[in-house]
């Protein structure tokens, strides 16, 4: 059984600083998780460094009643939704205070109280579950939309196509969010699909779609807001494709020896954090001193999370046999 905790879904409002702040939190969280793996023997983990704008932009557009399904690269989605970095890191380290009592580790974290339900690390798994979650929403008269995050690799799974077809036929309230980060583990997307656009695959199923610069958090937020409005207005699912890039490896540790250095460098120039920081500096919404102070504040939060997670005990061995059956 999990300890009771107070959790609150993060409310973004329209504050651009909040968008930036959340992206910085995710970046520092994931870099710390990678560091703990490298230096302290923590379990390996999948990061989504470089994809923060997609996570934050979409989650910022969601309402408190909306639900999220995610996958192995979920830290950004969870933190954007308001997850505690301390408990998330504790989960990644397999500790008792983690969101799943340490039984998930970093790969399938769900946090029901935040509306982050049924995370699957089976590539495409969440696409098959999303239709059911959306069916519950529809049949039980709940208004929340189901946002389902998945990768370009998952779009090559049969379940992606089965899910879109059923969602279209049953008019399920699903926002499909494809995080097209060009990589499918160690294989470049170019090797596995002839199209450059997953969004184009939605149309034959009767699903409206849009493509957005996944490294521009405000653009993502605007596109997701429009997509959600379309779902609520038309009573049909929608697919939003965010074009982004996985700046770190597939799974820590990963030397990225297989990555084209030119491609990587070109995407580093489009880093979503630098982009938003430059924009806010430019608009005078924050100055350099403000940014520096924000960095320090978030770094302290991550330090505290690491202290908490490392201090959290491992689950009792008896937990091996709990939570198998209801």
């Amino acid at each position: 059984m999990l300890a009771e905790v107070n959790v609150t879904i993060r409310r973004f409002g329209a504050d651009p600083l909040e968008l930036l702040n959340t992206m910085m939190l995710i970046r520092m969280y994931e870099e710390r998780a990678a560091l703990l793996q490298r230096e302290s023997g923590a379990p390996g983990t999948c990061t989504a460094v470089g994809q923060e704008a997609t996570a934050v932009g979409v989650v910022a557009a969601l309402g408190v009643d909306d639900l999220i399904l995610t996958n192995h690269r979920s830290a950004g989605h969870l933190l954007a939704r308001g997850a505690s970095p301390s408990r998330l890191l504790a989960e990644a380290l397999g500790r008792r205070d983690g969101y799943c009592g340490g039984k998930s580790g970093s790969l399938h974290v769900s946090a029901r109280d935040l509306g982050v339900v049924l995370t699957s690390t089976i590539v495409g798994g969440e696409l098959a579950l999303a239709t059911g979650v959306a069916l519950s929403q529809q049949m039980l008269g709940r208004t929340g939309v189901v946002a389902c995050f998945f990768g370009d690799g998952a779009a090559c799974e049969g379940r992606f196509h089965e899910s879109l077809n059923l969602a279209a036929v049953w008019r399920l309230p699903i926002l499909y969010v494809c995080e097209n980060n060009e990589w499918q583990a160690f294989v470049h997307r170019r090797e596995t699909m002839l199209t450059d656009s997953v969004a184009a695959w939605a149309q034959p199923y009767g699903i409206d779609s849009a493509t957005v610069d996944g490294n521009d958090v405000e653009a993502v937020r605007a596109a997701a807001t429009e997509a959600l409005a379309s779902i609520r207005k038309n009573g049909r699912p929608f697919l939003l494709e965010a074009q982004t890039y996985r700046l770190r490896g597939h799974f820590e540790p990963d030397d990225q020896g297989y990555v084209d250095q030119q491609e990587l460098a070109s995407w580093r120039l489009r880093d979503p954090l630098s982009k938003m920081q430059a924009r806010l500096l430019d608009q005078g919404i924050i100055d350099q001193a403000g940014l520096d102070a924000l960095s320090v504040e978030i770094a302290q939060c991550i330090d505290a999370a690491a202290v908490f997670a490392i201090a959290s005990p491992y689950p009792a061995v008896a937990e091996l046999h709990t939570d198998i059956f209801a």
Partner: protein, 323 residues
């Protein structure tokens, strides 16, 4: 009371549970077409035809179960479950555990299997042991008309994912439903025939084979007990152990392939826990490690016959007499 078939008993169970609980829904390829009465009574929202895509049918059921509905899915024939394995095994079976108990998955997946219709191995494959070997799932495989009804109702009321296998050979079997229905819980075996010299442990269609074998043995002066497991997971270990501790001899009989089947697990359990009282080895009668053929004589040769069970018991009683 007028006798009903197994298929009618299943329909009755569905209708009663859908009337009892508005969260129960039925999905599958053709369920709304073939179960017209259910469609008429509960409407197209709760009785849903689906695309031909078992993976998404199962996934939809799993997602819906976690968030407030109680889906029953008809996946038609057991081999089609292969298309739904990820959802059943990796999601329904594991996501409660991996989430630290945040979700429950009250769902039932119904599938037919077994010899009798000559449909061949892509429609007939007794894969129940796969799911017994999978954490987080329950597995039910009834043998009597009354049990089909009461166990399906129990499965629908259970808060866990349940695989409910319908032996094709029993589908049109008729039986009486008791006027006063006993509420059977999952995980309870039942003694079909009391005996003293050996225990025949079985489930589904081969329970009948065991009962006929017991009748033959009775004529030879051997008294065989017939234990119907009904639920394969959770297994009624207490009932199996109690019977075998009394008789000292056990034969496990099922149509599924013998290797790594449920019988292997039961034989191992008996060896571990009743060794001192066993009068001989625990024997298994089961199908071969071969796909199920369509041709009638081959299909019959595949399944355990009365004579196979009788000779297994004779082997145990005679070796004891000789010793």
């Amino acid at each position: 009371m007028k006798p009903v078939t197994v298929l009618e008993a299943i329909d009755q169970a569905l209708a009663e549970e859908m009337a009892h609980d508005p969260r129960v829904i039925l999905m599958g390829e053709g369920v709304a077409t073939k179960r017209k009465a259910l469609l008429a009574e509960f409407g197209a929202d709760r009785v849903r035809n689906t695309p031909l895509a078992e993976g998404i049918i199962a996934g939809t059921a799993v997602g819906a179960a976690a968030t407030g509905l109680r889906p029953v899915i008809d996946l038609l024939f057991a081999p089609f479950l292969c298309y739904a394995m990820d959802e059943l095994v990796n999601s329904a079976g594991k996501l409660r555990y991996l989430s630290g108990g945040q979700f429950a998955f009250p769902l039932v997946a119904i599938a037919m299997t077994g010899a009798g219709w000559g449909v061949g191995a892509q429609h007939n494959h007794n894969i129940e042991a796969w799911f017994v070997h999978t954490p987080g799932l329950k597995v039910v495989m009834p043998s009597s008309v009354a049990d089909f009804k009461s166990l399906l109702k129990a499965a629908i009321r259970d808060d866990n994912p349940v695989l409910f296998f319908v032996d094709i050979g029993l589908a049109h079997t008729e039986g009486e439903l008791p006027a006063q229905e006993a509420a059977v819980r999952l995980g309870e075996a039942v003694v079909r025939r009391i005996g003293e010299d050996a225990t025949l442990i079985s489930y589904a269609k081969t329970v009948g084979v065991c009962e006929r074998a017991a009748a033959v043995l009775a004529e030879e002066g051997v008294s065989a007990e017939v234990l119907d497991l009904r639920t394969l997971k959770p297994l009624d270990e207490a009932a199996v152990l109690a019977s075998v501790r009394r008789t000292g001899r056990a034969v496990v009989v099922h149509e599924a392939s013998r290797n790594c089947g449920v019988g292997a697990e039961i034989a191992a359990m008996l060896t571990e826990q009743t060794w001192a009282t066993l009068k001989g080895p625990v024997l298994r009668v089961g199908g071969p490690d071969a796909p199920a053929p369509a041709s009638y004589p081959l299909e019959q040769a595949y399944v355990p016959q009365v004579e196979d069970v009788v000779s297994s018991v004779r082997r145990l009683t005679r070796s004891a007499a000789a010793a």
